[in-house]
Amino acid sequence: MALAPIGVMALDARMIEWREEGAVLRVRKHGENAVILDVLTEGHGRVAGVVRGGTGRKLSAILQPGAQLDVTWKARLEEHLGAFTVEPIRSRAAQSMGGRLALAGLNAVTGLLCFALPEREAHPPLYGRSVQLLDLLGQDELWPLGYLRWELALLEELGFGLDLSSCAVTGATEGLVYVSPKSGRAVSRTGAGEWADRLLPLPPVLLRQGAASTADILEALTVTGHFLEHHLAASLGDKPVPEARARLLDLLRRSA
């Protein structure tokens, strides 16, 4: 009889702990010296935790959105917020703060990830794509196309992916010029018929065709934006899509 409570205590006293690499998504001040850090990891998804002393001179330089960190998360119980200890792997601050497109892009990526991903749900493919995209920050000629591909991956990962392989009506694989705003499937001109004006235009860049100019990418982002707003956001209780995405598109529009 006496052993059971001792065993439970011993189990309670044991800390849950894991260590992984992650990208910083968001940093919020908590009390005077601490911050609540949101990181995206491969094995644990988006995880929040307290970093004590996070507002200090040393740590605040490391804890910037986009930074790649080695994080150790500890908590007494799984449902606790938990605490992080962090080691820098690489900062992306210089690349992201160097230009307005990079900054706007970083804000859009971190904003959308915080908006769309539930906490503690692993999405390894999306993690890989996100880290690749963050590594491209500062390369303004490559970044917009990379961002478009990333938005497609985000939709795919969360169950709202576009199927552009064949026409939803005729099954044809050629002449695809529309996307159904409901199903996200491609539609050919023949298949669209009198419904054409109710469908979204399918820019060639979404089929990996054409020159992928900024104007083409913007047109494609209008399509992904429809699914982010009307499908993904609707599934999350109609939260508005982060304003940072609109600012990025505005910047791209001005540079087109």
Partner: protein, 197 residues
């Protein structure tokens, strides 16, 4: 608890809410104030009561003072065509401690933050634009933090202020800094902003 003890406990509770103080240090501070009642406690209470009735935000720049327009905005000597944009009053005070900048200031009251839903209308950016137009400003110096939010705000303001020179503080190795102890972001920024020696 007696009434007298309760008053002191109330004071300790209030002091413990100040930044940098916890219940223990608040208790020590209150005990010290009680011991130094004549030279410290009474003048402090009077000063706090005075500031409590007179402190206000400058209607022009957002600085904290005891008049509607602060001393810096009232001084003709500071009207040299330069406005230094800072995030917070603490940053303004830090700039004034350095005693290098001789122009006027503009306190934004925060930075843009998409994640925290802070947009341009939540900051004093419209007021900055009207000041630039009405005060004969030739240069706007952006002294915002070297953070993602700080630099996002800086780019937004630069876009909004067409037709006036917009500069920003340099980023790089701090005075007394050793490279070995700097993060790689700071080293990259410093290398990008290198100058002829």
């Amino acid at each position: 608890m007696t009434k007298a003890t309760s008053d002191i406990e109330d004071l300790i509770d209030l002091m413990a809410r100040l930044p940098g103080l916890g219940p223990r240090s608040a208790r020590r501070a209150v005990l010290h104030l009680i011991k130094k009642r004549g030279p410290l406690l009474t003048p402090l209470a009077e000063a706090m009561a005075r500031v409590g009735t007179t402190a206000r935000e400058c209607l022009n720049c957002g600085n904290v003072g005891t008049a509607d327009i602060c001393d810096i905005c009232n001084s003709e000597k500071r009207a040299n065509g330069q406005i230094c944009v800072v995030e917070d009053v603490a940053d303004l005070w830090a700039m004034e401690r350095a005693a290098v900048f001789k122009g006027r200031y503009h306190v934004l009251g925060g930075t843009l933050s998409a994640l925290d839903d802070i947009g341009p209308e939540d900051l004093r950016i419209p007021k900055l634009k009207s000041r630039v137009a009405s005060e004969g400003v030739t240069e706007v110096i952006l002294a915002l933090g070297a953070t993602v939010d700080g630099q996002t705000t800086a780019h937004y303001i630069a876009d909004e202020l067409a037709g006036v020179s917009v500069t920003s503080l340099a980023q790089g190795v701090p005075v007394g800094g050793e490279l070995d102890y700097l993060d790689d972001g700071t080293i990259t920024a410093a290398l990008n902003a290198r100058k002829q020696f």
